[in-house]
Amino acid sequence: MDIDSTGALFQAAAKGDASAWEALVGRLSPLVWSVVRAHRLIDADAHEVFQTTWFRLADNLTRIKEPDKIGAWLASTARHECLKVIRGSRRVVPTSDIDVLSPEADDRSPEQAVLDAEESAGREATLRKVWQAYEQLSENCRRLLRVLMASPPPSYAEVAAGLGMAIGSIGPTRGRCLGQLRRLLA
């Protein structure tokens, strides 16, 4: 299959195309995961919110009217579920506990394994420094940058939906937070 746009993938999935759905999951999971991580839930809650978000999309496949905005729909759904989980239990990860610097070897994607293999030790050390500096940023900066880190890069509309922020404030906040990060790395 060679469908470029997320909207086209969504429409194909809505008509029953399982491979289009799988491609959609591959493309938008990093966005959903980033929104969930930005809210710093404990792992069990993060996993549950991620699943709920995709289950909702599956049940709403034939009901969603704007296929091109599906990324924003997912981001917004994930955000609202995160907020409810936080209100329900207040189980939120303290900064130091989110030390996911060594993901389980058996839970890596093929891409991840390739990435690992390709990373030279020096390059990985550099990225680790970047990641550790990121963890020292203010809460607001960590939230925004965690969503911007999704791959492929999310649109500002998707970021806004995932964080409940005005689109206009994303650019300036991003510049300020990346500046802080650069100073931490200097």
Partner: protein, 155 residues
């Protein structure tokens, strides 16, 4: 990368730093593969025949929502002609769900989630399900000729 961005300018530096963060996230906090598999699987379990009963009330929604561990989560779902009210309480590591289908009737309620189960209601549409594991949860039931499925919630 657009050609009109001056190489080495602040915008370019920000783009490069953000790209490093993206690579770091892929390395240190990737989407767990097991979760991707669950999301792919969701396609097979989607409802295509049923009406969707939307979440119309949630005790955790809105700014005033406050809940301690011992209190109940109260949820209301409504669809065309039928609805479902739920009260969810923690019972040890699992959950107890007490519900009522409206209009009241003898129906079968199917619990969708990590531990799928079906229960019958009494004549008033009431039912209780014990030992429900925390996680995504949805309910499906047939009232008369209509089948409805609730939106998924995280409990």
């Amino acid at each position: 990368m657009s050609g009109d961005v001056e190489p080495g300018g602040p915008e370019r530096e920000d783009t490069d730093l953000e790209e490093s963060l993206r690579r770091a996230a892929q390395l240190f906090d990737p989407v767990p593969v097991s979760l991707m598999e669950v999301a792919v699987e969701a396609f097979r379990f989607r409802t295509v025949d049923a009406e969707l009963a939307e979440l119309t009330f949630d005790s955790l929604a809105g700014a005033a929502a406050v809940r301690g561990p011992a209190q109940a989560r109260v949820l209301g779902f409504g669809g065309p002609g039928a609805g479902l009210d739920l009260e969810i309480t923690a019972a040890g590591a699992s959950l107890r769900v007490v519900g009522q289908v409206t209009p009241p009737a003898h129906v079968v309620v199917e619990v969708r989630g990590d531990a799928p189960v079906s229960v019958g209601t009494d004549a008033f549409g009431r039912f209780t399900v014990d030992r429900v594991p925390p996680g995504p949860l949805s309910f499906r039931c047939r009232v008369g000729d209509a089948v409805f499925t609730t939106e998924w919630v995280t409990v």
